[in-house]
Structure formats: C-alpha cells, structure tokens
C-alpha cells in the first residue's frame, strides 16, 4: 500500500517535471542557433576573397520512423548521415552540417507540428525528409509562409513541384510524372500494343498510371488498354487481380504498387509465373529493398524500375559510395539511401556556391545547381525545383553470387527524357 502511494507520487512528480521542462524551454525567448565559435574571417587580399561562415548549417529531417515505410526512411537517413560526414570532413566555408531527426508516424498533422518545431525552435536552415505525400504537401504550404527551403526526398507526388510548387520547395526523387513518362518511353520501344494497367488505389498509384498512359498513347497511338484496375492499399492477396489480368490477355502489364504492396504483389506475380507469359513492369520493382526481402522468390525476367541500383552504373563514383555505405552500415543502399546521400551533397554544394547562409542566396544557388552523383550528373531544374536525375529500368535475373535477384540489362532513361517539359508544368500552374 505504501509502496503504491510512493509510486504514485513519483509518477505525478516526474510528469510535472516533464511538462515543466517542455514548457519552460519556451520561456527563454528566441532560440536562434547559437553561433559556434568560428574563427574570425581571415583577411585575404587575393581577388577571390575566401568566405567563412560564422556558424554551422542546421538541417532538420522529418520522416516516418515507425511502421512499414521505415525500410526506406532509415536508408535515407543513413545516406544523409554518410554524406554529412564526407561534407564535414571538408567543411563548407569552414562550417559543418548538423542535423536532427523527428518521427512523424506517416501523419500529416505530426509532420506539420515537427516542421514547426524544427523551424521555430531548433531554427533549422533547411528542412528535409517526408515519406508521406500528404505530409510533404502539408509542410510545403507551411514552409512557403516561413520561407524555409525544404527538400522532399521520398514522397513521389508530382504535385510537390507541379501545382503546389513554389520557391521554397525542392524535390529530390523522380516524381510520379517522371516515373510514368520514363516507363512509357521504355515500353514504347517494345513491339507491344495491349496494355494492362494496375496499381495501388491511392493518389500515387493513380498518378503514375495516368501519366504513363498519357505518354504512352502519345508515343504509340496504337496502344490499347485492355484492363485497368486498382487494389486497396495493404491488399493481402493479389490472386484475383492476377486472374483478371490473365483473362484480359494483355501483352504488357504496368503495375504501380505503393509501399508495402510491392512485396506481396511481386510474390503473386512470381507464383503465377506471369512474367513468363507477358511483359510485367513494376514501378520501383527492381529496387534493392524489395528484391533482397524476396530472396529467391522474386520472379525472373520481370521488368522493374528504380532511381538507383547499388551495382549499376559500374562507375568508380558509385562503387566508392556503395563501399562507404556498406562499410558504415553493413548493408547495401536502396534508392532511398542514394536519395538521402545526394540530398546532403546538393545542399552542401548550394551553400558552397551561394557563399552565404542567407536563405534567398541559398535558393538562388540551388536553382540550376548540378553536381556529380554516383549515377552521373544531376541537376536541380531552375523553374520547378525538380531534380533532373536518371531513371533505371531493368529486368530481374538470378545472380549466382547472391541469395537475391538483381536487375540486369539496365537501361538508363536520362533525366531530361523523363522530366516533363517546362510548358507542361507552366500549364499546370496556370502560368
């Protein structure tokens, strides 16, 4: 009885402590990042005057760290951390990158709340992250008012740089429009006309399929849609869709599964041996995260795409990145790891170019910025802030050295080919 009461008092006290702690923090007024003791700007009499930043650059990451998407968000965070190490070794005009992460649980209201916290309490210079499209869109509107540059690195919604685009938002992942166009470009070269279009029934699935079909019919007017169907997200059993596809007798199946649907869908395709009968194309179908989970169960000969494969292109830059990543975390990066990595480098490069910690200068420098990434040159398009990055489409194959399948016959669709022309974006934005 006594112990119980003491327990209760302790609980109440610790609670009050926690609340007080959280709230008292707020009474100390503004929390502008404390200037780190940077050496006084050295006077240089050379024409190229060396710039020294008087504080570090602070970056806030808001992403989903609970639930199914974590397989990607952890990679993105780790890729970012790796890049930050590289950057800090060198410094950006004497400054380093610091960053903090917040978990938004795939909930837009939480994302907004954390974005506010990072901007107004932590005082971050740049915001990154966002697995969820809804979160990205919600935060995008907020940072527009706050004038804080924000890089979306996982949500693929085309709205981010389309109708909802503005000066402060940047997109570092092929958006749904690009993915759809890339797929259409690739598949239009094949001699087929009968298409089955399927996808997860949420914004993302519809967006990819719509763009794909629009581009496909432009490229190949003879293309014919024999079936189109969408399944609820989280569908446990794909057999009915496979039967429906089979029955319609298409030559090509284009599938846009969202998030965790990819694994069971690929399994079902493998079990039904659908890839042996027709061309099956899966958006993000050859990404490492999915294939490694499926092991030997993934179907051979299935077409799939990914913005990144750790084994392709076989360039020294890529190898260096993969080796470092593997040494650090004991695994190979999936496409999210790559995105996190180049995002950090893009931000660092923009600051280098800007030579100032001023937000507007940073954005001006970011617009049109090109850097060399493990997959070659990538460029931030000036007008809509969509990163022009290549997109890879390949075919699955068993690799004797590995216990999972990899992509082969990889074709690179260059960013310029995939990205929608400026006129299209302008039209969407009503300009």
């Amino acid at each position: 009885m006594k112990r119980n009461r003491r327990m209760k008092s302790i609980l109440v006290l610790s609670l009050i402590f926690i609340i007080a702690f959280t709230l008292v923090g707020g009474c100390a007024k503004p929390t502008a990042p404390a200037p780190s003791p940077a050496p006084a700007p050295e006077k240089s009499d050379g024409p190229a005057q060396e710039i020294r930043f008087d504080r570090n650059i602070k970056i806030g990451i808001v992403d989903t760290y609970t639930g199914p998407p974590t397989v990607y968000t952890y990679d993105a965070r780790d890729g970012f951390t790796l890049a930050a190490k590289e950057i800090n070794a060198e410094g950006i005009h004497g400054a380093k990158i610091e960053f903090v992460t917040r978990d938004e649980e795939f909930k837009p209201d939480k994302a907004l709340s954390w974005a506010r916290e990072l901007i107004t309490r932590e005082g971050v210079d740049v915001l990154c992250g966002f697995m969820s499209s809804a979160s990205a869109l919600a935060v995008s509107e907020y940072v527009k008012d706050e004038k804080v540059p924000t890089v979306v690195w996982m949500a693929q919604t085309e709205k981010i740089t389309g109708e909802a685009g503005h000066r402060y938002i940047f997109h570092v992942i092929p958006n749904t429009r690009m993915s759809g166009r890339a797929a259409a470009r690739y598949l239009a070269d094949l001699p087929y006309t009968r298409f089955a279009l399927v996808g997860s029934d949420f914004e993302f699935g519809h967006a990819i399929i719509n763009t794909f079909w629009k581009t496909m019919t432009e490229l190949n007017p003879k293309a014919e849609k024999v079936v189109e169907t969408f399944w609820p997200v989280g569908e446990p059993d794909f057999t009915p869709y496979i039967s429906a596809i089979r029955a319609a007798k298409p030559e090509v199946v284009v599938a846009a599964p969202g998030g965790a649907d990819q694994i069971p869908l690929t399994k079902a395709i493998g079990a039904a041996k659908l890839a042996e009968e027709m061309v099956v194309y899966l958006h993000i179908g050859t990404d490492h995260a999915g294939l490694v989970a499926l092991g030997q169960e993934a179907p051979e000969g299935m077409y799939g795409s990914s913005p990144y494969h750790y084994y392709y292109p076989d360039t020294p830059e890529n190898k260096a990145f993969v080796e470092k990543f593997h040494a650090e975390y004991g695994r190979y990066p999936n496409f999210a790891g790559f995105n996190g990595y180049i995002t950090a480098h893009l931000i660092a490069e923009a600051y280098r170019k800007a030579g100032s910690l001023d937000t507007e200068a940073f954005i001006d420098a970011f617009e049109g910025l090109s850097i060399n990434s493990p997959v070659g040159q990538v460029t931030m398009r000036e007008y809509d802030h969509q990163l022009i990055q290549p997109f890879f489409i390949g075919k699955t194959v068993k690799d004797p050295g590995k216990d999972y399948l990899i992509a082969t016959d990889i074709v690179m669709i260059s960013g310029e080919d995939a990205i929608p022309p400026l006129e299209e974006i302008k039209k969407i934005r009503g300009e």
């Binding site: 707020g26 503004p30 917040r102 978990d103 209201d109 916290e117 107004t120 499209s133 869109l137 509107e141």
Partner: protein, 332 residues
C-alpha cells in the same frame, strides 16, 4: 508533497481551484509576449486538444458512454470547414459556425443509431461507424482530396500570425469550456450524471435516458467539431489520419490519464500527453517505447487519472482537517 492542501477546508479548496485557474488564464493571456513562436504554437495546439479531449468527456465522463471514435467528429468538423474555405462556398465566419453543426449532425445520426445499444456494443458500433466515415473520406478524392488531404486552406490574413491564431483559439476554447461547464452543472448535466450512475433508476423517475445520452453524444460531437475548426485555423491542412481510430484512442488516453470524473481532467491529460510526446519525440528515437511505458505505469497506478488523483489527495486532506481526523480512511 501535497501537504500544502491539508490546511484548506472544503470551501477554501474550491476557491483555491478557482485561483489556480485564474492564474493559468492570466498567464495564458500574455503568452505571446514571453513565449517563443514554437511554444506559442505548441500551447495553441494544446488548447485545441484540450477542447477536443473535453468534448469527449461530455459523453464519456459525464454520460458514461464509452465512445470509441470521437475523432470522427473532430475530423468531420475540420474537413467541413476546410472544404467550405477551399471551395470558397462560405465566408469564414459562417463556415466556422456551420462546420461544427455538421459535425453535430453526424453525431446526431451516428448517436441516434448507437444509443439504442448498451455498453460495449455501443462502443463498437461507434468504432465501426467512425471507421466508415474515415474510409469514405479516405477514398472520395474529388471531394475530400483522398489520402493526400486538403492543404493550403485559404485562411484570411488577419488569422495567419501565431498570436492572432493563439488568441482566437484561446477565446473560443475558453468560451467552449465555460459553456460545457455551465451545461455540466445545469439540471441537464446533473441528470446526465444520474443517468451514468444508474440508468434504470433514472427511467423510473421519468428521465428519457436515450434522449439524454443522445444529447450528450451530439454535444460532444459539436465541441469536437469546434476543435476541428480551430485545428484548421492553426494548421491550414487536413488529412485522413485525423479521423483514423488510433487518433480516438490517443484522445481517450488523454481523458483517462487526466481523470474522466473531473471537469479539467481531460484538459490536464491533453497537456500531459502532448507534453510527453513533444519531450520524448525530441530527445529519443524510441519515443513510443517511453510513451507506451509511461502510459502503462500511469494507467496502472493512477486509474482515476492524474488530476483525479491530485484532487482526491486534496479532498482527503481537506476532509481530515474538517473532521479533525476523526476516522482514518481505509485505502482501497
């Protein structure tokens, strides 16, 4: 730690409570002048949640109705307001009045069906119907924006600064709480508590218990709708997770942690839970682990809620003085 209160008698005890509330309100009134922007936002968010939690407590704490899906009305209020503003069908003032009424209408419909059932069956029917509303909003792209939600909701400029949103929220929440307080202390409120304690007896003194419960349910829905409107003012964005069932569980935990049999318990619970979420969210990646454990400890050891516990201790001390420690209280 609570020895301070042992010097208070019952009447003083009440004025002491009033004093504390007065001080809190006074502190809040000047909040924008000493709080940094983030904490001003956090306090605004807490205020919205305070209203949300208190709205749940009308049917739950006072009516004894175990509503498992209160977030439905919060979400419906927010969505209705968002859609009015986004489509520009209504100016902001009427929209902010009609949106809670729509939430109340939903509550009326759902409640009308649910109050026929007793106990847990009632609870689960509210859960099922709430999820139904969620699923429809989640899917109906053209109208509700589907899973992407609605963003960039056009709120007039004068409601865009942190302090104007704060004051609007503060005023609306205070008025709502006052209204709820008046209702709870009215004959309706008294008889509602009687219905909670002993529905059979209430029937036999001539109270239509179904009506009473329905009214409580609708009122809860209305004030949840008000909270939803305030949320939109604050965040200018809505998305389906707002009315997913886990949101309802979250707010239920707030009410229970604070204490469902005290008027300010749910409000206190909202402060506690949001405070803890922020605290752990900032300081650790495994915040769920900490939050979950603390919730378990609190629910296990303080089943009457934190404020309920504090009040009980205060009341006990006050009583001891009054009765001159005549008899010790057995602790159950």
């Amino acid at each position: 730690m609570l020895n301070v209160f042992s010097k208070l008698t019952k009447g003083q005890f009440f004025s002491f409570k009033l004093l504390i509330i007065g001080i809190v309100v006074l502190i809040l009134l000047f909040a924008p002048s000493y709080l940094s922007r983030y904490y001003l936002y956090l306090v605004t968010l807490i205020l919205v949640t305070v209203l949300f939690a208190t709205s749940l407590n009308i049917p739950l704490g006072y009516g004894g109705l175990l509503v498992l899906h209160q977030a439905t009305f919060y979400g419906v209020g927010a969505y209705a307001f968002a859609i009015f503003l986004k489509q520009g069908t209504l100016p902001i003032l009427p929209a902010s009045l009609i949106a809670p009424l729509i939430a109340a209408a939903f509550a009326c419909f759902i409640g009308w069906i649910c109050v026929r059932l007793r106990g847990l069956y009632f609870s689960f029917l509210t859960l099922a119907m709430g999820q139904l509303v969620w699923a429809i909003i989640y899917r109906w792209y053209n109208f509700t924006g589907g899973d992407d939600g609605i963003h960039a909701i056009p709120v007039p400029d004068f409601l865009r600064s942190g302090s104007s949103v704060f004051y609007t929220t503060l005023i609306v929440v205070l008025i709502s709480l006052l209204l709820i307080y008046i209702i709870v202390k009215s004959p309706y409120g008294l008889t509602l508590q009687a219905v909670r304690d002993n529905p059979q007896r209430c029937e036999s003194v001539g109270i239509n218990i179904r009506n009473h419960r329905l009214i409580a349910f609708v009122m809860g829905g209305f004030f949840a709708g008000v909270a939803g409107v305030l949320f939109v003012l604050l965040e200018r964005s809505v998305a389906p997770p707002m009315l997913f069932w886990t949101k309802s569980v979250e707010v239920l935990i707030m009410v229970l942690l604070g204490g469902m049999f005290t008027f300010l318990g749910p409000a206190f619970g909202a402060v506690v839970v949001i405070g803890m979420m922020t605290f752990f969210g900032i300081f650790t990646e495994y915040w769920l682990l900490f939050l979950g454990s603390i919730k378990i400890l609190l629910l296990l050891f303080l089943p009457q809620g934190v404020l309920g516990y504090i009040e009980e201790m205060m009341a006990k001390s006050a009583k001891k003085i009054e009765k001159g420690e005549e008899r010790g209280y057995a602790q159950g």
